[in-house]
Every structure is written in C-alpha cells, then in structure tokens.
C-alpha cells in the first residue's frame, strides 16, 4: 500500500480508503489528562480553542477566541499538529484500557475546526481508543455527519430551546443546533447521543423552559440520557485575568435541592434524566 509522509491510507467508516491528514494544524487550548468528567473512565480531553458561541456562563472564556492569546504571564493555546496531539493522547492508553476510558474532544467548539477534529478522531479509531466529543452542534450537518462515524459518544449542549433567549445569552440562533440534533437522531451508526444542559438560575431554570427542553429531548429517540449540570463560577477568575466583564455577576450556583427540582421537571419528559 502506498504511504505518504505523515499520512496513512486506511479504511474509512464506509469501507472506502481514506487518508488521515496528520500534518494538519489546529489551535489547541490545552490537553488535560486523567479527566473523570468528560465521559467514561479516565479520559484525555483535547480542548480546542475557538467557539462561535459566547454563552454568558461560559466557565472557560479562554477557549472562546480562535487565536492563541496572552493574559499576563499565561499563554492560552498553541498551534499543534495532529500527530503531536496523538502523541500526547497515546501516553495514557493503558489507563484507557483499564478504565474503559478514552479521548474526548472538547472546546471551544471542536466542530469549528472540523478537519483537525476529524483527523484526531480518525487516528484514535486507528488505535482503538474510545472517543467522545463535547459540542454545541453549531455547525453544518455536513461537517457533523462526516465526524460522527469516528465517535463512540457525542455530548451535545442544549442550553435553551427558546430561540430569542438563546440569541440573547449565547449570541447565536439555536435553529441549526436543534436541526442537527434531529438529524443526528436519524443518523446511522452506533454512537451514543447524550444531551447536557447547564442549569443557570434565571436563564433556563424556569418550569416553562425546562419543559421545552424536556419536550425537545423527548423527541430524540436515540438519546441515552439528558444530564443537567449545575452552573458554577469556577471560571470567574479567568474573566478577570483576561480583562473581560463577567455578565452573570451575582448569579449563584443552584443548590442540590434546586437541581433535583429541575431534574424532576425534565424527567416528566425524559425518564433517563441525571
């Protein structure tokens, strides 16, 4: 078989020969090892830099801009080649094996660097690593569908179903996001679909909004579960560091009781709400 420098032919998802673009560069915010929050087992999370959304509660504001940036002594992000990322990922392969963990591509928005994301995931599949992606789904369906075959799990954020509110709090229309979720529901493949909703007091914790979220999630028949995550303020220090205003000043993390109330509401629509 013919091989090219830093690339290898192999069978693609549909049996066709594809070439992995190992020379491609992307902007990586950081690579976190032994994470226990972004999928099963121990995971290496590749945070890509750059996101088309600007959610006001975003806990990683340093992941929003597409270019590497400097804040004081801290440098956020660097340009990396696919093969450099893979070399880093490979280091924990034994932990993946034992813990049924793997690789999670997160962001920023991984789909904003679709070719880079795809090449990383193709490599992971080549080495039999379990893969997951955390995404807003704010991307074209074409891009998503070309990446889904390389994923074991896709975590999609569904922050708000109300269109106006989504525009107000996240800076973009959610029409495409909802459409992509519906397409994904009908897509082929064995990947798991998990929807995650951050519960932000005053934004989406009203019964009305939760019911909308629940009802929409209920229409996704292949959904594994919907996970509600309590809003937290761990990122506020980073806003200061970057000299950016934090718009949700004064909002408090929801209590355990509040979270239970929200879950109970969503559970009326989707039994598997965690």
């Amino acid at each position: 078989m013919k091989r090219q420098k830093n690339g290898a032919f192999r069978k693609g998802a549909h049996g066709a020969m594809v070439m992995i673009d190992n020379d491609r560069e992307g902007t990586v915010l950081r690579i976190e090892r032994s994470s226990i929050h972004d999928g099963d087992g121990f995971r290496t999370v590749v945070f890509l830099k750059g996101c088309p959304l600007c959610c006001q509660w975003c806990s990683t504001p340093e992941s929003q801009k597409f270019e590497p940036e400097q804040a004081g002594e801290t440098r956020y992000g660097s340009r990396m080649k696919v093969e450099d990322v893979i070399r880093e990922i490979r280091k924990d392969s034994l932990f993946f094996f034992i813990s049924t963990g793997g690789v999670t591509i997160s962001g920023g928005e991984p789909l904003a660097q679709p070719e880079f994301t795809k090449a990383i995931l193709q490599n992971c599949k080549k080495e039999c690593f379990n893969t997951a992606m955390e995404t807003t789904f704010f991307a074209s369906w074409e891009q998503i569908s070309s990446i889904l075959p390389y994923l074991n799990t896709v975590f999609v954020d569904l922050k708000l179903v109300s269109r106006e509110k989504h525009i107000a709090f996240c800076g973009v229309d959610n029409e495409q996001i909802l459409q992509n979720l519906l397409h994904t529901n009908d897509a082929e493949g064995n990947f798991r679909l998990i929807v995650r909703t951050p519960i932000v007091p005053g934004v989406n914790d009203s019964e009305e909004e939760l019911e909308k979220i629940g009802a929409f999630a209920a229409s996704l028949t292949r959904l594994r579960h919907i996970q509600l995550l309590p809003y937290h303020r761990l990122g506020t220090g980073t806003y200061q560091k970057l000299g950016r205003p934090y718009l949700l000043e004064g909002v408090k993390s929801p209590s355990a009781g509040e979270m239970e109330r929200c879950r109970a509401t969503v559970r009326r629509f989707v039994e598997n709400t965690v």
Binding site: R30, E32, S34, K91, S99, L234, A256
Partner: protein, 799 residues
C-alpha cells in the same frame, strides 16, 4: 448502625489517645543487671540473661476494656532504650527529651536517676554505637558530617525490618521451640570444633524461651488477680479468659483465634523489648490466622464480629508500641513510627488467590481504629485477587486514612527473585516496614544502613566535589563544571560522585556487620527463624537465616536528581538558554540576584509529567545507582537499595545548596519517588507514567509513592472505580507501591487560612490544574463547596 463491638474499640481508642508517650529506661536497667551477673561469659549468653531479667522484672499491666494484653514498656505507649545498642544516646537529652519538637518522650526524674546510676556508665565504649563511633572510617565521617550520607541510624537501634515465622510461633509454641534447642544441644559434642559456639547459642535460645514464657505467665497471674477483685461480672469473665489464654500461649501451640492473636502479640513485644527496632512485621496475618478462624467458627466459638473485635484490639496494641530514637534520627523518621507492617491478599503456594474473610477484616480494623499503626497493606495480584478486595481498600483510602498501601504483588515477587529467592518461595513475600520486601522466618537484611543524598551528588558535580553548605571538600574531584563539553560529561561527573559515596557507604556497612556479629546477638528474634535453629547460629551471624540480603541503602531525592539533570540538559546543552558559568554563579548565590535564572530552572521540564525531556534520565540514573551498589558484596550478600525516605528528605535537604531544578538551598528534597510538590501538573496518570520509568524491581528495599489525590477523584461509586482503575494500571505499569493521601476539605480550609503552608497544593479547576492558594477566594470557596456537594451526593446514592 453502630456495631456492638465498637463500644469497646472506641473506649480503647480513647484510652490510647489519652496516654502520654513515655521513655522506658527500666528495660535497660534490667538488661544491664543481666549483663553484670554474667560478666565474662559469651555476649549472647549475657544478652539472653539480660532479656530474661527484663521479662522477669518489668512492670506489667492490663488496661480497662482490653481483651489482648501485654506491652514492651513499663506502661502503655513507651519508647524503649536498648542499652546494648546505644545506651549513651539519651545522656545528652535527659533534660530535653520530654519536650523536644520531634517525638518527645516523657522521662521522669526517677527515670533519669535510674539511667544515670544504673545504666549509663556500664555501657560506655561498650554499646554498639560507641564502638561504631570509635571505629568509624574517616571518609565516612567526612561524608556524614557534610550531610552527603546519613549513616548512624543502624548503630542507634537494632535491626528490625524483618518478619519472623509467625506460623512457627503459632504452631510450635515457645515451649516447642525450646525443645528443639534442647535436642540440638544434647546432640552436640564440645570436642568438635564449632560446637562450642553452637552450644552458647542453644543455651541462649533456651534462656530467651524461658523469659518469654515467664512474661506470659506473669500476665496470667495479673489477670487472675484483677478478676478476683473485679465486681463487674462481664469484665471478670473477660479477665479469666485473658488469664486462660496467657497460661497457654505463647508457650504452647495456639488453640483458638484469640490465643493466636495473643501469642503473636507476646512474641512481637518480646523481640521489641530485646532491641527497640522498627518493623517487626506481622506479615500475612490473613494467611496465618485463617485456620484458627475457620476452626473456631466451625465449632461455634467465634462469630465475625468477635473476630473483628480481636483484630481491632490487636491493631490498638500494635499502635501502643513507640519507636525511641535520638533527636536527630527522629527528624529522619518522625512520628514514633514503629512501622509494623501487615498485609492481606496476594497469592498462595499454588498461585491461587489467597484472599479470605480475614483479608477484609484487616482493612475493616484499620477503618475502625483509624491509627497509623499497624502499617496496613494489600499485596494486590492483578490477575488473581478479587475486585472486592481492591474495592474495600479504596473505600478505606477514600476515608482519608492513607491506608492500606497497595502493592503490585508481581513487582514484590520480582524483588524477591532479585534477592535470590526462587519462585517456589517468592510467592509468600510480605511487605516490610515502610515498603521493603521480606519473607517470613527466612530473610535477614538491613533496610537502611545509610541514606544517600542524591541532591548532594548533583551539587558535587557542579562544584568539583565541594559542599556548598560547609565549603569542605567532601567527594572526589571531577573538575571545573565549565569544562563539561557535553551533557554526558556532566552526567558522568554526577555518576562519579555516586560511585564514591557508594564505596564509602559500603565500607560503613562492613563495619556495621562486624559490630553486629559481635555485639548485636538477638536470641529472642532467632527463635522465629527455623534456619537459625537448624544451623545453631544467631540471627546476627552469616549463614544463620536461609536468605541473607545484605545492607540496604536508601536513596533520597529522586525527583531532585532527575529534575536537576533535566534542567542542565535542557537549559545548557539543548536550548542553550544558559551557560554553565551562569548556572553555577546563580546556584552559588542561592539564586539571590539571579531570580531570572531560577525562573528558567523552575520552568525547565520536570519529572512527574510524563515528559520525555525530564524522564529520559530516570531509567539510566537509577540503574547506575543500583548497578553500582550491587557490585559490592558483604558477609550478608550484595548491597541493596530502596527509595523510602520516611521524613529524611527534610533534614537531608539542609545539607544541599541550590540545585538546577530551581530548588533553593537548605529546603527539603522531594520525598519518595513522587514529583516535587507543585510540579506535576498533568494529573495522576502522567505522574504514574513518570514513576514507571524507575527500575522498581531492582530496588529491592522497595520504592515508595505517596500520591496526593483530590477527594473528587474517589467520591461515590464512580470514585471507587477510578481508584481501583488507577491501582490496577499501577500494577500494569510495574510500579511497585502507592499510598493515596486524599486532599480533604480540612486541608483546603487550612490552605485558605494559611496559604504559606500549602504553596504546592495543586487542584483541578474547570479543566486545568492550578495552585489552590493562588486562586481567588471565590474560586476557592467553590472548590471547597464541591467537596460538600460530594458528601451530599454520596448519601443520596445510598438512598
């Protein structure tokens, strides 16, 4: 629901915590009396007679609530002065020992008088420590006096770090062992060369047996006396039971689980009275005690709660033993630590899973008692032991107990093989002391004849063999570092200093062996080693035990030497950010005025991050060290090494100037085989990967990894799985040992209040790792809050 037996355990705990730690000089007094009355006789007879007098005369006690009794001192929680080892050691400390900062021992005025009038003078130039000082080679003194090695520990106290054959004690009984000695003695002919020495030995064994049995009988009598005066019927029955148990064991084979526990304790206390040595391990208790548990249960004499209660009582009795050390030695291993290790799990002689009900009870005992002794471990066989055992271990770790330690059974087994033990016996290995390896009743070794200061080895290479602290020439000359043209030149200079220190330490070891053979006979300890009985030699003699595994040396400052080598390579030879001259000038000034150089040093690649630029030298440098030691033979086999600094990394650091790692002069070196505090920013998996570069199995005295983990990692059911997965992977990576210190809520609150104490505390925040004390108050609160939510969730899970 509180278990019934926990009432007693709580009461015993309370009693323990309310007991002051005292200095016992009475054992020394009785020992001295025995020596005086046998003046001129063979040393071993003198020692045995002295030991007998200790057993005969020592004050004994039975405390409220106790089911298991005895103890080495005149009261519970005592440090014992072992006069023949180091009688003079407390002479200078008589007025300060009660109040000194590390491990104070209360010494009464009466005690002082006893020491001064009845102990001190007799042992001048006679105890082992005095002889050691008289004979110490000059090069050794120079290295020691400049802190490049620490080598007096084994002259101060005797050799522990061993595991007697508990099966022998339990199954034969002391009387049975005495009979063996008697029979051997009868078969000897003093006209045959060599038999005379054997006769001395067997006679000493019989005297030691008589002493131990007498001590047990005295306890039986005391229990009967207390029973007669006891008005509480339940307690009276307990006391009578104690009396009956002490009448039977350890003289006779144990007849019940209760007797087996008491028999073990009596012998444990006896050998500790003989030597004040650390780490007389209990070994694989789940294996030794299982037949007694099974028989008692089948006969309806014992239920699981009863067995658990006895285990818990035994744990408290072990915790009562306190290791006496002089002030300086205590700094190297503070905490009264007797480090009596016991382990569960592992495999049996057929290679099958050895886990049984008692394995779980041992872990439960540590969860109940919550003391740091005995030092509990699981020798985890990845392929054979059940997940349930590992899960139980992680549950205990999750409580923040730091115990049990978890060992890779396979690596331990390979260490045994490296010590010359065949596979037919290596399966039965047990962890010893801190993290050493041992084989019950068959192996003699010194764990830590010396500590070698690896930070100093780097310093000497960069300063031509001269100490930056004292300005004295300490090691060989390796020339001006500016002339090192390549990194290899520098690395070779470091190796040259290591080689010199190894050579000097080995000569110290030969001296210690000579002194031990002549002045450190241990007739009571020898009873637990069947080979001693067979060949008629005391434990202290070459060829006495089945396996002799040399003098062990502890390397201190693993991360420091790696980080320093890495920084020099990276900054000077690879990236050329600094010249050797710039570096050396900054180091000489302890970075004062050269903060930019220090910043570069600190930013250089660090061990613990799975970063090739730092870890490249790990395998090479440690292989070099062990290769070097293994070149040397001793009367007791090849020299061995371990990486278990206990707390020696702190005092040893006071002898090291600034290092290329960015570490300031006089500050502690890094403990164990972990990363330097605050430099491992890639999480636990990366740390374990770096650690796996060490050739663990060749460091047969063990390698110690203390891992800080965040409570979040071990929280809830997922947390148990994470902990288990980490430990399983550790085994697959061929890492030998890990102990988890969970960073708890209290630590975080303390760090918020006293940030200067917790500067290197790393914590995960929203996908990245940061220094906790550098986070804003709000973020800190949020993180502390997470630990709270965790406990709430945890309750929710259990319904």
């Amino acid at each position: 629901m509180e278990k019934q037996y926990m009432k007693r355990i709580e009461a015993l705990r309370e009693q323990y915590l309310n007991t002051r730690v005292d200095m016992d000089v009475y054992n020394a007094k009785y020992l001295t009396e025995g020596f005086k009355e046998t003046e001129g006789q063979p040393w071993i007879i003198q020692k045995a007679t002295g030991f007998y007098r200790q057993c005969e005369k020592k004050n004994i006690y039975i405390q409220e609530h106790e089911l298991l009794v005895g103890g080495p001192g005149f009261k519970p929680r005592c440090g014992i002065l072992c006069a023949d080892s180091s009688a003079g050691i407390i002479a200078a400390e008589l007025d300060t020992i009660s109040t000194r900062p590390f491990d104070p021992f209360y010494l009464s005025e009466e005690g002082k008088k006893v020491y001064q009038e009845e102990v001190e003078d007799y042992w001048k130039n006679k105890c082992l420590l005095d002889r050691w000082r008289l004979l110490a080679p000059k090069d050794m003194e120079t290295l020691r006096n400049n802190g490049a090695i620490f080598i007096d520990r084994k002259a101060v106290r005797g050799y522990g770090e061993t595991t007697p054959s508990w099966n022998r004690i339990l199954q034969k009984g002391i009387l049975g062992i005495r009979k063996e000695a008697e029979e051997h003695l009868a078969a000897l002919d003093d006209a045959v060369p060599g038999d005379l020495e054997k006769m001395f030995f067997y006679k000493a064994e019989m005297i030691a047996c008589d002493g131990i049995m007498l001590l047990a009988k005295r306890h039986a009598a005391l229990a009967e006396e207390q029973a007669a005066a006891c008005t509480d019927e339940a307690r009276r029955a307990e006391l009578l039971k104690i009396a009956a148990v002490c009448r039977n064991v350890p003289a006779n084979p144990a007849q019940s689980f209760h007797e087996a526990c008491q028999s073990i304790l009596f012998y444990e206390f006896a050998i500790f009275m003989e030597q004040n040595a650390s780490s007389y391990n209990l070994g694989r208790l789940d294996q030794y005690l299982y037949p007694y548990y099974q028989a008692d249960k089948a006969a309806g004499l014992l239920d699981d709660e009863g067995a658990q209660e006895l285990f818990d009582c035994m744990w408290i009795k072990i915790a009562e033993m306190s290791l006496f050390q002089d002030e300086i030695t205590a700094q190297y291993a503070a905490g009264y630590c007797i480090t009596v290790q016991t382990s569960c799990g592992g495999i049996d002689q057929y290679g099958n899973d050895a886990t049984n009900e008692l394995s779980y009870m041992m872990i439960q005992a540590t969860m109940d008692v919550k003391f740091k002794e005995p030092n509990l471990a699981v020798t985890y066989s990845l392929s054979k032991n059940p997940d349930a055992l590992l899960r139980k271990a992680v549950e205990a770790i999750g409580m923040g107990l730091t115990m049990p330690a978890v060992y890779s059974n396979d690596v331990g087994l390979r260490m045994m093989q490296n010590k010359g033990v065949p596979l037919s016996e290596a399966w039965d290995w047990n962890p010893c002391g801190c993290v050493e390896t041992n084989l019950a009743g068959r192996m003699k070794q010194y764990t830590d004849i010396a500590d070698i200061n690896l930070g100093a080895m780097v310093e000497f290479a960069l300063n031509d063999g001269v100490s930056r602290i004292t300005g004295e020439r300490v090691s060989v000359s390796t020339g001006d570092p500016k002339n090192f043209k390549t990194f290899t030149d520098f690395f070779n200079a470091v190796k040259a200093h290591i080689d010199y220190a190894v050579d000097v330490i080995t000569s110290g070891n030969q001296l210690l062996d000579y002194l031990s053979m002549n002045y450190r006979t241990v007739p009571a300890l020898s009873l637990g080693f069947p080979h001693c009985m067979e060949v008629g030699k005391d434990y202290s003699q070459p060829g006495a035990t089945k396996y002799s595994c040399g003098g062990g040396v502890i390397t201190v400052g693993q991360a420091d030497i790696v980080n320093s080598l890495a920084a020099v390579k990276y900054l000077i030879y690879d990236e050329k950010k600094l010249t050797m001259e710039q570096l050396c000038t900054a180091l000489a000034a302890d970075f004062k005025g050269y903060e930019d150089v220090q910043a570069m040093c600190l930013a250089a690649p660090k061990y613990g991050n799975d970063d090739e630029r730092a870890d490249f030298c790990v395998g090479e440098v440690f292989t070099h060290i062990i290769d070097q030691f293994e070149k040397y033979d001793t009367k007791f086999g090849k020299m061995t090494c371990g990486m278990l600094p206990v707390s020696g990394n702190t005092p040893i650091g006071q002898w090291v100037g600034a290092l290329p790692s960015g570490r300031n002069a006089l500050t502690p070196l890094t403990d164990g085989i972990g990363a330097t505090g605050g430099t491992d920013v890639n999480g636990p998996t990366a740390l374990l990967k770096s650690v796996s570069r060490i050739p663990h199995a060749r460091f047969t005295q063990g390698t110690q990894l203390n891992m800080k983990v965040e409570p979040e990692l071990l929280r809830g059911n997922d947390g148990l799985a994470h902990g288990m997965n980490l430990l399983k992977t550790l085994c697959m990576l061929d890492v030998y040992h890990a102990q988890f210190n969970v960073v708890d809520r209290e630590t975080l609150l303390d760090a918020q209040q006293y940030p200067e104490k917790h500067r290197d505390l790393l914590i995960r925040v929203a996908g990245y790792t940061a220094f906790f004390v550098e986070l804003g108050k709000e973020t800190q609160d949020e993180i502390i809050g997470r630990t709270e939510i965790g406990s709430w969730d945890g309750k929710g899970c259990c319904g």
